[in-house]
Symmetry: C2
DNA sequence: TATTGTTATACTCTATAACTATA
DNA sequence: TATAGTTATAGAGTATAACAATA
């Protein structure tokens, strides 16, 4: 019956009101639930995100992806390799050194299934928030993201994009 | 003059309205800015969080921390070791196998400096959000966190706490 | 030569299994 | 034996440096 023997009841939570703490906590929980939902498709959130993005930007290059998703180009290599190996991603015509990436027919089929999972997941995690509030929430998150990137300190070492998230 | 040569202007963002995407994006940006702020104190966000938590819960054990912060006990070991080595953490009297942890005088001094950094950081990232909206934001984040943990799928493998975040 | 793609690598975070110590 | 602490380790995720290829 798995009793937790020494569960103290006088624990103080010094982070109760901190946006930063709740942001991280919630972000982790949401990412974990998305990973669980994607498991039947044999994709993790990173791979699924890449698949969706390329589906929406057929012909884009690795550099384009790197810029759009705030990822290091080097870290995309294993993801692209896996998706290519599985046969959902095609390396198209070269544009200079760059290579145009696009989805194969199998990739498009998988894309649609991934899209369904993302949409269902999004509805699920947002089910306690009225529609109007969701827009407000996304706007607040964008504002915070912008402010965090514009922080007084030296941000040269900070990899998160220095340009505004969205106009 | 570092021109980005092939910055495409026809890039589509398929995640524009997704709460999950903005949550993660913003959480990463906020964590990075906090890490930058903590650099002068030679602490990373994990270590600083641990220091603040023990400061608020003097005499707690490693198990207490593990439960409260949703961390694996094994992963706390290097953090506790570092804080002990630096001389800010003291291993107090044993309660059975457990060891009561508390801050040394130097630890209390560092705690106060960390608290200042956290408070300043919190004000900074929230500066675009009116006070009333911040409470609303935290409430929404808590609701989402709860919903994500209660997801239909099998959550046995999901490490994020299954108990409600706060009453 | 500048940009792009790639490899290798390292560091952090996180998760599990196995071991030790104590009531 | 159950709980607590620890060790070792493996796997993501993310960062940098260096190299190859192409205009």
């Amino acid at each position: 019956m798995e009793t937790v023997q020494s569960a103290r009841s006088d624990i103080v939570d010094p982070f109760g009101d901190m946006i930063s703490y709740h942001l991280r906590r919630t972000s982790v929980a949401v990412l974990n639930s998305l990973a669980a939902e994607l498991q039947p498709l044999a994709l993790n959130p990173s791979e699924a995100t890449l698949l969706l993005w390329i589906g929406a930007n057929s012909g884009a290059t690795q550099s384009d992806i790197s810029r759009a998703l705030n990822a290091k180009a080097a870290n995309l290599v294993p993801l692209i390799n896996k998706l290519s190996l599985v046969g959902v991603l095609e390396r198209g015509p070269k544009k200079g050194r760059a290579i145009a990436l696009s989805l194969s027919p199998a990739g498009i089929a998988l894309h649609d299934r991934v899209k369904q999972v993302f949409d269902r997941h999004e509805r699920s995690i947002g089910r306690s928030i009225p529609q109007a509030k969701r827009r407000e929430l996304v706007d607040m998150l964008n504002a915070i993201c912008r402010d965090a990137c514009r922080f007084p300190q030296d941000l040269a070492a900070n990899s998160v994009d220095a340009e505004q998230p969205r106009s």
